[in-house]
Symmetry: C2
């Protein structure tokens, strides 16, 4: 059995910077035609100059692979409509982080006061710049996304022309909220389609499956799987692939993030095939994103075949999801 | 400010065996007058000979401290009333583990079929041997204790003269269940009085606060604190102090268990004082256990004083709860 994906896209990707960028960008650049690059560097990416320079560093790290980094700005309350207009040609989205909710989000928004931010959201609506949101409060870890839904609702209803992407959704409630507002969309990661809190903390504690938002319940996972495999046009693949060195994962205070870039397409093919929905993977892993972001990625064909592979123990010191485990699908050819 | 505790007891303690036993028994033996010793060794403690020999090894490891190890047998479906009668002089309880729910519980009970186990429960009722239970199903990690409550209810109602100890309870529902049956009692750990899942996985992942049953919500913690600090006669302190070498905690598949033995009484004093309930600590950490188990521990006075201490980074390679953090209370004198 085989499947050819046309220009797969990863609409939520952490490529980091420096040596890590140089080490791991190739794993995304090889099998994807493009990815939305997250801006939570130290310092965060908040200027046109920083966007241009980061994009150059990414392209250099991609070793000539056919791969478009779609850039995002780190949302700041101080942005002006003029700045956003000037930035527009260089970016595909602005990413809003509530302060402190995930890796390097300390400079994020401390409180999402719609009135105070209205001029920014209005400018983004008019310019057609999507707003990507890490939708979590600072509440109890299992309730953070649910508690944030009121914020999504208030932005979505107040700015009906603003394209809002609920990033890496993890709950049944989020899957249902998508239906309520035309301008709400979502990314779903590979890992949230596959794991629950049981995989993180139900047996031995597994730091390599620890991520933010944390994996939730079986009911939540099932709701995500259903909208993904049925090619719901409101959702698209965003890996949230987030490399940390093994030494930062297997330690006393382990960082959140799962590295899935090298295995994502094979694992998605396995999941979609299991549900007899293989043909819907093109929509989830590319077409929906093209429509939501209004982008045309470079041509790239990725041929996947049902052929077992064993995932390496690590890639450049980063332990991937499913390290040393088997997947039933593999990438056969890319052209 | 100071508090003198008379013969404090830890009614749920893992002392392990071999070098670990020799290394860590002294931390319990020093400040407690006695403890109920858990039988989940490899192999589990299931014979009178094993009980006698394990008790001897414990006493040897205690370096002559005044300390009574109250021994427990690992529940086996094959126990007979005759065996229990013979074992009675050597034990204080039988501990039931559903198979696979925690460290070294693989030999536990695969399904709790009340009818099949009735002769054992009846013999224990008649002999006055308490049944200690690790009350978790194999369900979703946050729901395991709640799902187990039906088993508690069926045993408690079918064997009204059997003393049943719900070990290390973690939920509001368990705190409420206690009120429903005269013969239901519970131990509460230090850590479940202090942490929630947020401390384990809300920020960075903290393997040193990973335990089974996993820490739950704020509402759950508050319910436990209320029955503990108000000297509810149905509950007693059981640390579930469970040492693992740092190398087994700060790794890829971290074992469940928190080592609290050396700091437990100081941390309890801090908690009870914070709630202006310091005088109730005697009931929680000793008197209730004496009544529930009908035991008279050796005389030992532990004088605690409100005086800051910094917890060591480790004890014999085992990282304790609150390593390198400060506690406002300290043990001043023991005699």
């Amino acid at each position: 059995m085989k499947l050819t994906l046309n220009s797969p896209l990863d609409m939520h990707l952490h490529l980091r910077d420096g040596k890590m960028l140089d080490d791991i960008a190739k794993y995304s650049a090889k099998s994807f035609a493009g990815a939305l690059i997250m801006p939570n560097l130290i310092p965060p990416v908040t200027t046109i100059k920083a966007i241009i320079e980061y994009k150059e560093r990414i392209l250099k790290a991609c070793n000539g692979e056919i791969f478009t980094p779609y850039m995002s700005l780190f949302f700041k309350e101080s942005y002006t409509p003029e700045f956003l207009r000037d930035a527009k040609p260089f970016i595909s989205a602005v990413k809003l982080y509530p302060s402190g909710v995930t890796t390097n989000s300390e400079g994020g928004v401390s409180s999402i006061d719609i009135k105070k931010l209205a001029h920014i959201f209005e400018a983004m609506s008019e310019l057609g710049i999507p707003l990507c949101v890490h939708g979590e409060t600072d509440g109890f870890v299992m309730d953070r996304e649910k508690e944030f839904s009121a914020v999504y609702e208030s932005i979505a209803s107040a700015f009906p022309k603003l394209t809002i992407i609920m990033e890496h959704i993890t709950t049944k409630e989020s899957a249902e909220l998508l239906k309520k507002y035309d301008n709400l969309y979502a990314t779903i990661t590979l890992h949230h389609l596959l794991i629950t809190l049981d995989d993180v903390a139900g047996g031995l504690l597994n730091p390599h499956l620890f991520c933010k938002p944390i994996a939730k319940t079986y009911k939540d996972r099932e709701a995500l799987v259903q909208i993904a495999i049925n090619a719901d046009k409101k959702v698209m693949f965003g890996s949230d692939s987030a490399p940390h060195l093994a030494s930062k994962k297997e330690c006393c205070g382990c960082a959140a993030g799962i590295f899935t870039a090298p295995i994502a397409l094979s694992a998605l093919a396995e999941l979609f095939e299991k549900h007899n929905k293989l043909t819907n993977l093109q929509a989830f892993a590319s077409d929906n994103a093209r429509n939501i972001y209004n982008i045309t990625p470079p041509k790239k064909e990725v041929v996947l075949r049902k052929k077992e592979q064993t995932i390496p123990k690590e890639f450049e010191g980063v332990v991937p999801m499913f390290a040393e485990k088997r997947l039933t699908w593999s990438i056969e050819q890319i052209y």
